[in-house]
């Protein structure tokens, strides 16, 4: 298992694809991990590209620290990886949900390191008090409710090992400052988004939530170089519609 020290954080990463331009994939919160990409769109993207995936702080097999889950800190982890693995060259970024917001933060701060940006189902602002309250209780039940249906299935029918996934999600909520840090994040300013000149692809699902559709419409309006792909899927698009999603991303990256 490749584990690298990224600014002092023991980080699990994986690569697919031998040659071609670099693409970095950034997964979503709590139940996301390298596996979200690895068995969905990454093999398709890797046919023509070098794909780098990593487990975010506190997720998958990367170390769980008490704090450091705010967008700047997470974007800084990404910055270290891009500099190290991009060989100084800019890369394309693909993020899902929380991961897309991290990718956006990084892209706005370091446009010189980004060729193109793909935002899959990002919510802005990243987290609201209302959203937290809607899944309050921070118990196993709440975390199960946040899982996509296929993981709920595995969780509810599985035994000891399946429960670990939920326990890790609970530990992130209970034992770290993740929620507080994300609630304290200021939303992106429209002026900052308007100044971002790199090409952006938005991928949003037909069966997604209102927080997502509001963000989609706002990003379409304020980003200068943006296009939208609407895909027949829920928020968990990598699972629901990997082939249409990989096709849309591939076309955009090749353009």
């Amino acid at each position: 298992m490749p584990v690298e020290d990224v600014g002092g954080l023991k980080t699990h990463l994986q690569t697919l694809g031998a040659s071609g331009p670099g693409v970095v994939l950034v997964h979503g919160m709590l139940i996301g991990s390298i596996a979200s990409w690895y068995f969905s769109i990454a093999p398709m993207l890797a046919l023509k590209r070098r794909v780098l995936m990593y487990d975010l702080r506190g997720h998958g097999l990367t170390e769980r620290t008490p704090s450091g889950y705010g967008l700047r800190a997470m974007a800084e982890d990404l910055h270290t990886l891009v500099r190290r693995h991009g060989g100084g060259a800019p890369v394309a970024l693909v993020g899902h949900s929380y991961g897309a917001v991290i990718a956006l933060r990084f892209a706005l701060d370091h446009p010189e390191l980004v060729t193109r940006l793909v935002i899959v189902e990002a919510p802005l602002p990243i987290l609201t008090r209302e959203h937290v309250d809607s899944v309050s209780g921070l118990d196993g039940e709440a975390v199960v409710q946040m899982m996509p249906p296929w993981q709920q299935h595995a969780f509810l029918t599985g035994g000891r090992r399946a429960r670990r996934l939920g326990e890790r999600g609970i530990a992130l909520l209970r034992d770290t400052t993740l929620v507080d840090e994300l609630l304290a994040e200021a939303d992106f300013a429209d002026a900052e988004l308007r100044a971002f000149s790199r090409p952006v692809l938005l991928c949003y699902g037909t069966q997604t939530g209102e927080r997502m559709t509001v963000t989609r419409d706002r990003l379409l309006q304020v980003l200068p170089d943006v296009r939208l792909e609407t895909i027949d899927a829920s928020h968990y698009m990598t699972r629901d519609a990997p082939v249409p999603l990989a096709d849309a991303i591939g076309r955009f990256l090749d353009a």
């Binding site: 994986q14 697919l16 068995f39 990454a42 093999p43 296929w150 595995a154 029918t157 599985g158 090992r161």
Partner: protein
């Protein structure tokens, strides 16, 4: 046992060893690995552990076996129902092509 079947039982032993490296000897003692063992129900393998297994298979069998591409072509129901035997058959068929 013909040559093909002997080849598969060798692959099964090898894949079983790789799974044991990931989930631990203790667990394998409770759930012996056969062709009929399912990844989700019997082994309760988490998806991140499947990533680790994929990496080990790549190291063992090289480029001939593309585990992530094979899995990404499956429907969710197929992945949930996936058995160790399916992976053994897949590796055997990849090897017979080379």
């Amino acid at each position: 046992m013909n040559t093909l079947e002997a080849g598969k039982s060798e692959i099964l032993a090898s894949v079983g060893g790789l799974i044991e490296e990931i989930i631990g000897e203790e667990w394998v003692r409770e759930t012996p690995i056969t062709m009929e063992t399912s990844f989700a129900q019997d082994l309760e393998l988490e998806s991140i552990e499947l990533v680790a297994l994929s990496e080990k298979i790549q190291q063992r069998y090289g480029e001939a076996v593309d585990f992530p591409a094979w899995l990404s072509g499956m429907e969710l129901e197929q992945i949930i129902a996936l058995k160790v035997g399916d992976l053994v058959e897949h590796i055997a068929s990849c090897q017979s092509k080379t």
